[in-house]
Amino acid sequence: MSRAAPRTDRRAAARPPRALVPLAALTVGFLVLPLVALLQRAPWSDLTELVRRPIVTDALRLSLVSAAVATGLSLLGGVPLAWVLARSRLPGLSVLRALATLPVVLPPVVGGAALLFAFGRRGLVGEPLEDATGFVLPFSIWGVIAANTFVALPFLVLTVESGLRAVDTRYEEAAATLGAGRWTVLRRVTLPQAAPSIVAGAVLCFARALGEFGATVTFAGNLQGRTQTMPLAVFVALESDRDAAVALSLVLVAVSLAVLVPLRDRWLRA
């Protein structure tokens, strides 16, 4: 009995006050209604024909590839940055964190314009780069990847940073006292403990990259098969072929949900 009592208490504490339920239901309605409207507009009878069109398949392939590469680059650069933010005692760390978060709040089109000023053909870095190598970042898949990475990277950095903060440093200290070097501690103790947040961060980053529009169209342009990702294809199709636009949107929603639904579990377990 003395064991059972606290368990019931805990269950009671986990139950939210009833008043929250209608508000939560309203929120769900607000989020779901536009999706329902999208489904209601869907050209169901032509859907299979529509999603097989080159404009859809090209855009889907380009979106998946560029989002995957952007996620890879974000992991490569973002995990170290998250580690610095979580662990170092550098002065101005809060400024650094604000800078790393900026692309989340900045209108993506501003990010795209800034990327042009930096890496465009007349940009700070872009002009000498083109003169030296002939390589042009805009109007290529690399431009799309750059735009995706710029906008999606913070999602990974912030998630991994909070994951690293939650890691119990006593394990790392113990490993160090037992003679493990810094790399060994990082590889065998820190990263495994932070793994759920790294996975969650990578998934969020990938999902954000999939939906990227403003920075991409501003920096990389729009050409089917080369730089036209799903969101760009939706935007262009809305102007000329609404059925195709809705079909594209449905594919984008389906892919995004497929990426995000498994995340929920991992996130909770983390």
């Binding site: 465009g120 169209v217 342009g221 729009n222 050409l223 089917q224 262009v236 102007e239 000329s240 609404r242």
Partner: protein
């Protein structure tokens, strides 16, 4: 008059504007059906009209004291979708007669009037760094070339001109609207792009035009019409009438538009 379900909401949105403009002379502001004077006229216009319509609107406001012109710019096909979706527009002016014809067919607008013409020009960054000489160069793979996307008037127009000239274009980007295309030429990211003559003029010194023969295929007529269930029908008619007056035509000519 039948109201769409969204209309009361839209009217409520416009109310603060109406109140803000209240308390002056009645001027030419015509009373609408419910007796309230019309203080605003919302004009949806093609992106290529951005600068010209700012001046036309100012001239209209001078002639109609107490009336404020609200301008909203987008690509013509986007405008069509917005109007068909019941956006609170009084007047719509497109860069394409086909888009306007769609709106007429749907019964979304009244009788359109042509009020200006525009023609395509080959725009290059100042100094023409790539040495672009004519339409043929738009087929060169070594240049970075931009067009408007197909389905957008400037994109359809450009393809007709290139077809007529027997040029197979090799675009590196198909921009969703003409201003986005111009911005990339202006920034020097693109070696050349087919935009409207008025856009080249608006860009000033940052952009030069290479004269190319575009003929009738490269010329577009701009129609304007009052929206069928305009929130401010009288002000809408007044604006449409004003745009074809010599005063408005002078303003349009200053921005590079030809007579209709």
């Amino acid at each position: 008059m039948t109201l769409r379900p969204a209309r009361p909401l839209l009217a409520a949105c416009a109310l603060p504007l109406v109140l803000a403009a209240c308390g002056g002379s009645t001027g030419d502001a015509a009373p609408s059906g419910d007796g309230a004077p019309e203080r605003t006229v919302t004009v949806f216009a093609a992106a290529s009209l951005t600068d010209a319509f700012a001046d036309v609107a100012a001239a209209f406001e001078d002639e109609h004291p107490g009336v404020t012109v609200e301008l909203s710019f987008a690509g013509s096909s986007a405008l069509r979708e917005q109007v068909l979706d019941g956006a609170p527009a009084d007047v719509v002016a497109t860069a394409d007669e086909a888009v306007m014809a769609d709106l007429v067919d749907e019964g979304a607008v009244g009788e359109p009037v042509a009020f200006a013409t525009n023609r395509l020009q080959l725009a290059v960054p100042a100094g023409n760094p790539a040495g672009v000489g004519g339409l043929d160069d738009l087929g060169r793979g070594d240049l970075v070339i931009g067009l408007c996307a197909a389905g957008v008037p400037c994109g359809d127009l450009a393809r007709r001109v290139l077809d007529g000239a027997g040029v197979e274009p090799a675009p590196d980007t198909e921009e969703p609207n003409v201003r986005a295309l111009l911005a990339k030429v202006e920034a020097g990211e693109l070696d050349a792009g087919l935009v409207y003559a008025t856009d080249v003029r608006a860009a000033g010194d940052a952009v030069e035009a290479v004269d190319v023969p575009v003929g009738e295929e490269g010329t577009t007529r701009y129609p304007i019409a009052a929206v069928a269930d305009a929130p401010h029908p009288r002000a809408a008619d007044a604006f449409v009438a004003f745009v074809t007056t010599p005063a408005a035509r002078d303003v349009l000519a200053d921005h590079g538009f030809g007579p209709p």
